[in-house]
Amino acid sequence: MDSTIDLFTIKNSFRLLIFVLLFGYTMFSLVLMFRIKILAETLETDKSAVVNFLAKLHFLMVLVGSIIVGILIMF
């Protein structure tokens, strides 16, 4: 019974909230990457490829960062 009560601490609620946030954030960066890909095909400049690469890098940063943050907040 005690362990059930411990599960619903303020810190655990925060953890749950952050996990939901991290999931949404990762999805956001994934959709952003695809949106940028479409726009880079619509407007072709010599920097479009670089911007497309930046969007991919951003997604990678969010993905790796989210995993790290997820591990850190579990402690």
Partner: protein, 213 residues
């Protein structure tokens, strides 16, 4: 469009219209410029072979000053919280320290994303004036973008406004292009040198009308 053909276009029409003299200084603008005349290695979906980009416009960078200040503020917050915790003599255990580090990393990631998203919005919110038409590429949010275009001969009225202190200091404003009935008005928002943009569109329209006889 190559440099030679751009120069040829400039030379051939220089005596005819004022816009070429007004925008000629922007022909060497980099691809990350917010005001570029006859940009090289630039194209768009649906561009015709005989169609040349005359102006490539983006919002003036000064419009993004508030966003820059927000990011600086966001990055300063973690730096202020740690000394504050020390000042309040809050003793963090190992678990709390890891939890706090996770929050700080998340916060910095959000700040970086804020910069990236604003950069992408600036880069892809583009207004293009070609020898045939005007194109407005809007990237307002993650879930939608809109590409609008109108042929030059459909344009009925061009006007511009420059409102506010920053607009005066940095010389930017909005250009409004009214097209034929039942079509919406185009708005080139916060673009540099709005007078030159208006003059360019008007001159291109006159050239187009005279060519059509």
């Amino acid at each position: 469009m190559s440099t030679n053909s751009s120069a040829a276009t400039l030379r051939s029409a220089k005596s005819l219209k004022s816009y070429l003299a007004r925008i000629s200084d922007a022909t060497k603008a980099k691809s990350l410029a917010s005001f570029a005349a006859f940009p090289e290695k630039t194209g768009f979906t649906g561009q015709d072979r005989d169609e040349h980009i005359v102006l490539l416009l983006r919002q003036h960078p000064a419009v993004y000053i508030p966003q820059v200040l927000i990011v600086i503020g966001m990055l300063l917050i973690p730096l202020l919280i740690l000394p504050l915790l020390k000042l309040l003599e809050v003793d963090l255990g190992a678990g709390d320290a890891f939890f706090g580090l996770g929050i700080v990393i998340l916060w910095i990631m959000i700040a970086v994303s804020f910069v990236m998203v604003n950069f992408f919005k600036w880069f892809f919110n583009v207004y293009i004036v070609t020898t045939q038409r005007i194109i407005d590429i809007d990237f307002d949010n993650l879930f939608s973008h809109r590409v609008s275009e109108a042929q030059l001969e459909k344009i009925e009225d061009v006007s511009h406004t420059s409102v506010g202190m920053w607009a005066v200091i940095f010389d930017y404003g909005s250009v409004y292009i009214q097209t034929a009935a039942e079509q919406r008005e185009f708005e080139f928002t916060n673009v540099p040198r709005p007078r030159d943009v208006q003059d360019t569109i008007n001159d291109l329209l006159e050239l187009k009308q005279s060519a059509n006889g």
